[in-house]
Symmetry: C2
Subunit: 603 residues, 2 copies
């Protein structure tokens, strides 16, 4: 067995067509270039070729952790799923927390690569450094909750990744659920799993914390990191906004700044924001604050509605979900949102994309493009359409295509609040301009997590290493975003939770990575690794045909000035930011040049 205490890594390559499993070591040079998690996953997907249909035998699905996963560092336990996205046609990585990642490490693996397609439903069982493929015929057709429970009943104390019926039905934004309550949410990685007929991945292992190569440095770095998490205004346990109210603390913050996309971004404020805010959640449906492995922040929520038609008990909802199914759809009923969130977890679908798709259906109805459609805020009908989407029933065939796909079907792409086919998250680019550039240039489509500019544009005063920038100015945002994108690519490869960036400056990551791996990784090398990963993703997309023309925003953000006060009259100056951004990236027409690929040692 590979020494779990160092950074020598082991992956399983699983051919589902042939039902073969191969075990491989990861080359050290490759590991230093791409670190782990997102970085290595992207490299594997790239090496598999770009001319691949996402839903075909030729596509691969990588489930990857990073060098810190399973260690005793806080906020360490993230799991990356990397593949070619059936939603966007780009490369995609999505992440979840919880415990699965750490357990996978303890069971002897740093990554799993699934190739081919099984004829019959299977699940992968991992224990004692081995991966076994088992029949999952009895699980096919079951929801995530029942699948997870069944596997736990059968196998004991295990962690379970699984897809719901949405993944089975190839819904383009089906997700992979991690221990039922956490989601590798964006980009349809669950549909790839469904196509491969891989219902679940189960891992069993005893805790066996990864030992760092440089124990002294590790002890210091780990303490510094933990101290910062314990005291930073955003993350401080108990007191910090994330800890007290969860991610939903953003609802009021973003709404007050006229940046909460409302009714499919026709407005920038929601009159019922208070009703669906984190504060209201804390006062009403919140019953507990679960945490991921070794995380003192515990931003996760456990919520419950005891009676009535919205009765449920489950994890979430997160800020993005509350926005997507709330303000975005003109729905101010927090209990209904909680119920839908739980339903979506069971069906295995991305709550953000679902909210965007429902908003498209609502605007299509408003514009007379959809017969027997859906009114703004009609929660009962939302539930009906969510179920139809997962089952691909009736109009669900259209909704299952995602925000842009559905808008195309309804006949008006202008109502799709999407970039590269992925629906936007909960930040209006007219009110937070850096996010506009972020959505436009993110390698997986409209995404806030490739470089979270609100840390600087909104929460700057509460983040020790950040400075508050004018959210309505476009100047300086290109430089900020490039830095964040490179940094976050490294963070996602370590795999550390991005919420650590509210507490840790760049040095902390460099120290943790150096201590764990024994390599001397400077902040400069770290950012270069991040840049390498970002450019490799971009290069992948270029080879798939994506260029500057795809770095766009929905016209609404460029041409329709908001009338609500906080962002009144503001439009997103995307072109100006893009011009600066391309210069900083040294890209031509959005394309990574050969010299750049060489300079970054990608080729």
């Amino acid at each position: 067995m590979t020494d779990a205490g160092g950074y020598a890594n082991r992956i399983a390559k699983v051919d589902l067509t042939k039902r073969q499993v191969l075990y491989e070591e990861i080359d050290d040079k490759l590991a230093r270039k791409y670190i782990g998690g997102r970085g290595l996953g992207v490299k594997y997907v790239f090496d598999n070729g770009t001319d691949v249909e996402p839903l075909s035998e030729a596509n691969i699905l990588c489930l990857m952790i990073g060098p810190l996963t399973g260690s005793d560092a806080s906020l360490n336990c993230r799991l990356a799923s990397v593949t070619k996205s059936p939603l966007t046609g780009t490369i995609v990585d999505s992440h979840s927390g919880g415990y699965f990642g750490s357990t996978l490490k303890w069971a002897g693996f740093d990554g799993l690569i699934f190739e081919g397609q099984s004829e019959k439903p299977l699940y992968a069982y991992i224990e004692n450094e081995k991966l076994e493929l088992r029949d999952a015929s009895d699980l096919w057709g079951k929801g995530v909750f029942e699948t997870t429970d069944t596997l736990r009943d059968r196998l004991g104390n295990v962690n379970v990744l699984s897809i719901g019926i949405a993944g089975e039905n190839l819904v383009k934004f089906a997700n992979i659920m991690n221990d039922a309550g956490r989601a590798n949410g964006r980009g349809g990685t669950g549909a790839v799993m469904g196509f491969k007929k891989l219902k679940a991945v189960v891992v069993k292992a005893k805790m066996n914390r990864v030992k760092p190569k440089n124990r002294d440095l590790w002890a210091k770095a780990r303490k510094e990191a933990l101290d910062k998490v314990m005291t930073a205004p955003v993350t401080e346990p108990g007191e910090g906004g994330l800890s007290e109210h969860g991610t939903a603390v953003c609802v009021n913050e973003i709404n007050e700044r006229g940046s909460l996309p409302t009714r499919n971004s026709q407005f920038t404020m929601f009159d019922k924001a208070e009703d669906i805010s984190g504060e209201t959640m804390t006062d009403t449906i919140l019953i507990d604050r679960p945490a991921c492995d070794l995380c003192p922040v515990a931003c996760k929520r456990l919520t419950e509605v005891k009676d009535g038609k919205w009765a449920y008990r489950g994890e979430g909802p997160e800020y993005e979900t509350i926005w997507a199914l709330g303000a975005n759809c003109g729905n101010g009923d927090l209990k209904a949102i909680g119920y839908m969130n739980d339903l979506l977890n069971d069906l295995g679908m991305d709550t953000i994309e679902m909210g965007d798709v429902l908003a498209v259906a609502m605007e299509a109805s408003q514009r007379d493009l959809l017969k027997d459609g859906i009114e703004w805020g009609d929660a009962d009908k939302m539930v009906e359409l969510i179920k139809k989407t997962a089952k691909r029933e009736d109009v669900g065939w259209a909704l299952a295509e995602g925000t842009l796909g559905a808008a195309k079907i309804f006949g008006n792409t202008g109502i799709a609040m999407a970039v590269k086919g992925m629906g936007i998250p909960a930040y209006d680019p007219r009110g937070i301009k850096g996010m506009g550039l972020g959505f436009a240039t993110s390698n997986r489509g409209a995404c806030h997590l490739r470089g979270y500019t609100p840390t600087y544009e909104v929460f700057g005063e509460d983040v020790p290493h950040a400075e508050l920038m004018d959210r309505l100015a476009w100047q300086g945002k290109a430089e900020l975003l490039k830095f964040l994108q490179d940094w976050f690519a490294f963070v996602d490869s370590l795999n550390v939770c991005v919420f650590s960036t509210f507490a840790w400056p760049t040095e902390v990551y460099a120290k943790l990575a150096s201590a764990m791996t024994g390599w001397d990784i400077s902040v400069e090398e770290m950012l270069r690794i991040g840049e390498r990963i970002y450019n490799l993703e971009r290069h992948y997309n270029n080879l798939c045909g994506f260029t500057a023309k795809d770095d766009q925003l929905p016209k609404r953000f460029l041409e329709e000035p908001p009338t609500e006060k906080p962002s009144k009259g503001s439009l997103c100056e995307l072109d100006k930011m893009l011009e600066e951004y391309y210069k900083l990236r040294d890209w031509e027409n959005g394309i990574v040049k050969e010299e750049k690929l060489k300079e970054l040692e990608i080729i």
Copy 2:
């Protein structure tokens, strides 16, 4: 009233939002540049702007005839519908024959332009140089046959253009049916009509043959034209293949040459070709040979199945339909094809696209991409899916998106035999190479009618002005196609039936056009006008983002050599032909250069 005897033209501009009708004369200079029909329609659509969603108030629908329509020339009565296509996003023109065009001329119009969108269903009634908008609430939801019959019962001897429920439901390949049995088929012009809530256009007028400006020249030209139609091997009444067996005469001809796309182009010959051939149709279900206005060829079929589950009586099926719903779907039952054709006419959907979409569903089922799918040749299930498509029920939501749209939804664009989003017609580019270049460069997507190379590649010996070329060679096809595309653009603007090209060399069109208009139009000017129209269409598409990258063929035609003997081992050398073609067109990366636009007096 404009003198119907000359070529001064009158159009009605109908604003459906405001319920306003304006009458305008067409400027003589403009008419000489674009002639009529397709050319003028394209110019109007271009002037309306390219940044227009096809299904939006901003799009316009032009119904245009040409200078010969309503005259006593044979094969004259075509009607062009021109708009931005909801299927492809390109400019599109589609055509039908029959009587509507002539009657429209006699009622005092050379074109109708519909703008905006009505709140309630309307139909347009045209008589005595006036157009009136009338309520069509009682017709909404009715099929084409009932709509046509109802309007005739109500209004007497009228010609009726109408959409079926497919157009109402915005099926992307809904067509406009012309007197119930003829179709403006390709590109979803019926969906545009449906979006506008325009159920029908009705015209009433007494015959009043258009008088030419130069009567002597006309008499000669008209006689020459008619003589050629009466004697050319393809068109000769009674004896010619088109006349005797209708367009379905192609089934055996094309199959024998290993060029009949079978089972979604997985094969190039169909073992049941004989069963669905024109000869078999003549011997079995044929009951009459109706004709368009003043056409001695009478290629139209009236067919009937008296008993059993396929019982129907109606116009068609054409060769393309027989192929699309027959060989293409592995279905060898001619009666079932006749029944489906009739059903599709009533629902108002393009039979070619429907066949391609069904073949996609069949291959998706074969590849396990579609649950509870459809087997090759399952005619009962085909009927079920046709109905679901028109109604947008269940998987019909996917099928209603057309060949490429459905393949995207099923998750594999490689199984879409489509170009620019439009499904291919009945010629395999591996067996008839010029058609491959034609599909790739046609401005409306995969189309055989922008330049029908089989005239030279297959039927050369039977066409007096043509020479037979080697169908399996790529050499010379670029030059042939460019010539045909320019010529056909003129033919479609005159508006004369393209089947005339089996009988008439270019001079005949120049003479007819000159005699009718009084202008001295040489063959050179004619081809320049055609080139102008073709380049304006291309320029429109360029402005919509279409470039060389969209001039592609499904990989199957480039990479999978047929195993059946007649075209065994042959692949379509598209790149070589494209290189020559772009040179001949003087396009860069598929884009019309500014100098070219100026040279052709487009700008």
